[in-house]
């Protein structure tokens, strides 16, 4: 909406506005001083009584947590930036760090077992098959990648210290994530299918059990779930579908279809600026509700169409875009069998043509969203 409606004959002219501004400014300044003076003692009391002890506890807990996770003092303050390759995706995957410690109550503050023999296993994924996998020096940081067999499943791993990979250097993390992806791809090629795990999934030894025993124990416990997941995803790949709309185009369409808005636009002409402003508010209100219901019905239609062409659809979060002319309407991950891949492409093309939306179709990805 334009704001160039500086009018001389209005209720307030420029001079009066200046005055109003000055008065408002003075009131503001006074109020701020007043509030600050009145509340100064209360604030400092509050900060001393409540804030500081809470802060202290929070700081000490954080430090305890951090030290519990990272024995190496050099890494104590480093926080791991999200993987640059597929950041949102990785963050959303459950079963992140150190599986065995979850639920087994490693109390914060107690340092993890260390020393010779206390090594962990970095888990890339689970694949079906019985032919051992061995990729010499091709894992993260050139580690030897090998497989641990449980029944007809293999866990693809490399030996590593029992702590997460962390670095403040984005490039280093990027290389790690890329190496992780590469192994996933290679396993997928060799075994036909792989159930990928998120970057930095590390199995820790616990008590007198080695990491390998922990992993085997976990695979035995979860065997049925792992099996059914692999059956579900076999012969399928994941694709990302993001649908965007242009607010101005949609606004025009809604306006042209809504007679009330047309009437208001007529009404607005040849009126005083005050009246024009008020009528414009009404138009914007109408437009907003119109666009909301339009967007809702579009999402409904698109979801139905996409769902029909996929084995499974997962709705992801809408990302706020900075661009004004392209807003995200829908974001989803689709599990698609190789035969259905063309079908989905056709459906998306229809969506683009029929509804005037733009579609971003990415993939194939490892099936992170469905394991």
């Amino acid at each position: 909406m334009q704001l160039d409606l500086v009018h001389e004959g209005g209720v307030m002219n420029k001079k009066q506005r200046e005055k109003l501004k000055k008065v408002l400014q003075e009131i503001l300044d006074e109020e701020i001083d007043l509030i600050t003076n009145e509340t100064r003692s209360i604030m400092s009391d509050l900060v001393n009584k409540e804030g500081l002890p809470a802060l202290r506890t929070a700081v000490s807990t954080t430090i305890a947590d951090a030290t519990a996770k990272i024995p190496d003092p050099a890494l104590k303050s480093s926080s791991r930036p999200p993987g640059p390759l597929t950041p949102g995706r990785i963050a959303e995957i459950p079963l992140g760090d150190t599986i065995p410690s979850a639920g087994q109550g490693v109390s914060p503050g107690s340092p993890p077992a260390e020393g010779p023999g206390a090594t962990g296993l970095y888990l890339y994924g689970i694949a079906p098959g019985t032919t051992p996998v061995h990729y010499r020096s091709s894992g993260i940081d050139g580690q030897d990648v090998w497989s641990i067999q449980y029944k007809d499943l293999m866990a693809i791993v490399h030996d590593c210290p029992a702590r997460p990979y962390e670095s403040t250097d984005k490039e280093v993390v990027k290389d790690w994530v890329l190496a992780h992806e590469k192994i996933i791809e290679r396993v997928s090629g060799d075994c036909g299918i792989v159930m990928p795990f998120s970057f930095d999934t590390i199995i820790k030894p616990d008590g007198n059990k080695t990491a390998e025993e922990m992993l085997l124990h976990w695979m035995a416990e979860e065997y049925e779930r792992l099996e059914s997941t692999i059956t579900k995803i076999s012969g399928k790949k994941e694709y990302g579908v993001q649908i965007f709309y242009s607010p101005s185009v949609m606004g025009e369409r809604v306006a042209s279809r809504n007679p009330a808005i047309k009437n208001l636009q007529e009404e607005m002409k040849h009126r005083g600026p005050g009246m024009e402003y008020m009528v414009r508010q009404k138009i914007e209100q109408e437009l907003k509700t119109g666009m909301e219901s339009e967007a809702a019905s579009l999402v409904h239609d698109c979801y139905k169409k996409i769902k029909d062409a996929c084995d499974d659809v997962k709705i992801e979060k809408i990302k706020k875009s900075v661009e004004k002319e392209e807003k995200m309407l829908m974001n989803c991950s689709c599990l698609v069998s190789d035969e259905d891949y063309r079908k989905l492409g056709d459906v998306l093309e229809t969506i683009e043509k029929e509804y005037g939306l733009s579609v971003r179709f990415t993939g194939p990805w490892p099936v992170y969203s469905f394991v």
Partner: protein
Amino acid sequence: MIEIDEKNLKQGVLGLVLALVEIIEDTLRIQAVRRMDSGLLTDDEIERLGSALLDLKIAIGEIKEEQGITETVKEIREELDDVVNDVVDRIGNPERWTDQQVPCS
């Protein structure tokens, strides 16, 4: 020891005040449109109401511009939106009441 930068504080407080003024302005505007819809106002009254609201909007915009807090006010309003969304979400979903006590009997 907590250090407070006075200039920063003033910016923050001014931003907060203006964010509240903007919210009040929104409310006034919504109410004004309702009054207009009720059909009880004459054209002349609507014109005056609209002009006053328009002037208020312009004045707020100028103050924000002068103080260089346009961005701050926007951020505060977004944060407030998040807080309100959170509260509404909590109240609307009884299963979440156990997470945190909500003053609601």
